[in-house]
Symmetry: C3
């Protein structure tokens, strides 16, 4: 029996992801496929494509070739086309054509994208279940991504390195994790010492290098700079949340 | 190896669902069953049978015949009988006898219900693990629902269509999703234009028909009317939450 | 195909657990292992080892022998050694050497602990993915715990029975569940009637013995005393949260 891994990422919260799994399992019944579902996250902030793209990019490198990734975070739900199938580095991505899939796909190889065309019964409000799940079932049975529709140039989305300003670096908080660490839209550390809101951030290699409650800046395990408070909560300490734009002041 | 799909729905939050899965896996060990668990939701508002019934009804149609659904949302936990096994449309439902299972079961066919009788070691506080999980394991090995206890007439629960009042329609918010959309206890749209708290709701087929931040009313993909704010949050905009009773004023 | 159950418990919230599963699935590819993942909880309060140990202890007894449990709750992440493999009662536990694993392991038999030694590429901030997941994959292929490193005496952690004081019993709230029930660090009920903040707690066997909104104390299904409000929320009623120290006043 062939084993297929299908990951799911969305901003749906609960019970909609189960609908998607039900559709996939229904379509694969009797086809001797053994499906292993792995939920990446369903608590992406609603319609926050950047946060979704970050979570997907951070997670897919740990999965083996052949994995199928369904990702749905879509502010324009129910309107602009049926979405994409993207093939890259032996992985298959299925989701909307809004840049969500691209950073992850690019990190694994050179992406090739195909536009999903009819016939898929598209419900008014839920492409994830009515389009992406059936397409994932087709991919799981070995159908080729190219069979799904014409090759297209997909919309892209780029993470940044921070924007140089007069007194420092401007950047955005992509994600706040459960520990209150602020993940920044910067794929390298600042070259000099910086402050946030007047407080110096100690540049460290691991959190443990900080003293208790000391504010730190470090490269996170996902390849983005992050601000943390050792054994504390940086989001609370600095009153910041995902989506906030911040300035790192050079010292 | 025979594959059985078992879905789980509860108001338990975390680690109790894992106990239920552990019990099922323990009982099936060495029986050459391949179990695929799918969590529907474990964040049903505590003891909110209506919300649980809605989530179950919305989700089970997407699963194939043969699926076993365990659902536990029970204000009177540990008291009134050991619960039910309900068979309908080739699906099996296991849960309390409080109406939770019935809308979903009815949506798939004509339900037949059996009362679970002893011997099941019923813990003081957790039927889900000590009764429903072992019964699910029995069902997964092919035992018939009728073997579990006598056939009974189950308690039922009906969703509504809104209640006609002098100036409009009275209804209840069953569920608020992660986007702040208000799912109403109404299985059809009002026949005329309506306001909520003095604000006109545009009747649309998809969210995208609304302008940015415009309040909408539409039929959700689950077959219930829902109130949304395009790219906004209706629950916050109208200061409403699950369980609230509202009036839709006719214009 | 051999089936292995792997449970996961952490304070990571979302998408980090998926990274761990991806690593395990990648390492087991082509090895004809069928893995069933069961998430115990990923919403353990950040760095709360006691709460994590409680959730693990409460859950592992329901799993069959041969189950592999990965647990990660670690205030000193990235510093003190690479962690442990603990074998007990036919189960395998993998996690940090801070007491998290021990109550659960002891509940199943006599634990034997081995210190994980290099070579595991330890990322700066994430042992769960870079150390524990690869070790779990090795265990799943049948490698022996003893092969992983030298036998050691692990750090332990003990739950309590409450501390006798002049007027009553002092204890800590380990966990607040979704219903607002307060799980206490006491593995037996007080021998006499007690009050909390001046309110008498009725000693009951099941919640249903209380009247609506009556405060209760009972032995929970997990073997710890818990304070509940029948059909209400004890955490809200008494203004208490996990980690709070309380006094049960003898009457």
């Amino acid at each position: 029996m062939k084993m297929t891994i299908i990951t799911l990422l969305s901003d749906f919260g609960s019970f909609y992801p189960a609908q998607m799994k039900g559709v996939i399992l229904s379509r694969l019944q009797g086809k001797a496929r053994d499906i292993t579902f792995v939920d990446i996250a369903h608590d992406i902030p609603p319609q926050d494509v950047l946060a979704g793209a970050f979570a997907l990019l951070s997670t897919v490198p740990y999965f083996p070739k052949g994995t199928i990734h369904i990702a749905v975070v879509d502010p324009g739900v129910g309107t602009e086309g049926l979405g994409l199938v993207v093939e890259s580095g032996g992985h298959i991505f299925i989701g909307p054509d809004n840049g969500l899939l691209l950073p992850a796909a690019r990190s694994l190889g050179t992406p090739t994208a195909y536009k999903i065309r009819a016939p898929f019964a598209a419900s008014n409000t839920f492409h994830g279940r009515d389009v992406f799940a059936p397409v994932a079932a087709q991919m799981a049975t070995g159908q080729s991504p190219g069979s799904i529709g014409p090759r297209v140039r997909p919309r892209d989305l780029n993470f940044g390195d921070g924007k140089k300003t007069d007194g420092g670096i401007e950047t955005t908080i992509i994600y706040v994790d459960r520990f209150g660490n602020l993940i920044l839209n910067m794929q390298k550390l600042p070259g000099v010492d910086v402050c946030l809101k007047g407080v110096k951030l100690k540049r460290v290699r691991t959190y443990a290098e900080g003293r208790r409650i000391e504010p730190l800046i470090t490269m996170g395990s996902h390849g983005f700079a992050e601000i943390a408070v050792n054994q504390g909560n940086a989001a609370e300490a600095f009153c910041l949340k995902a989506g906030d734009r911040i300035e790192l002041e050079e010292i």
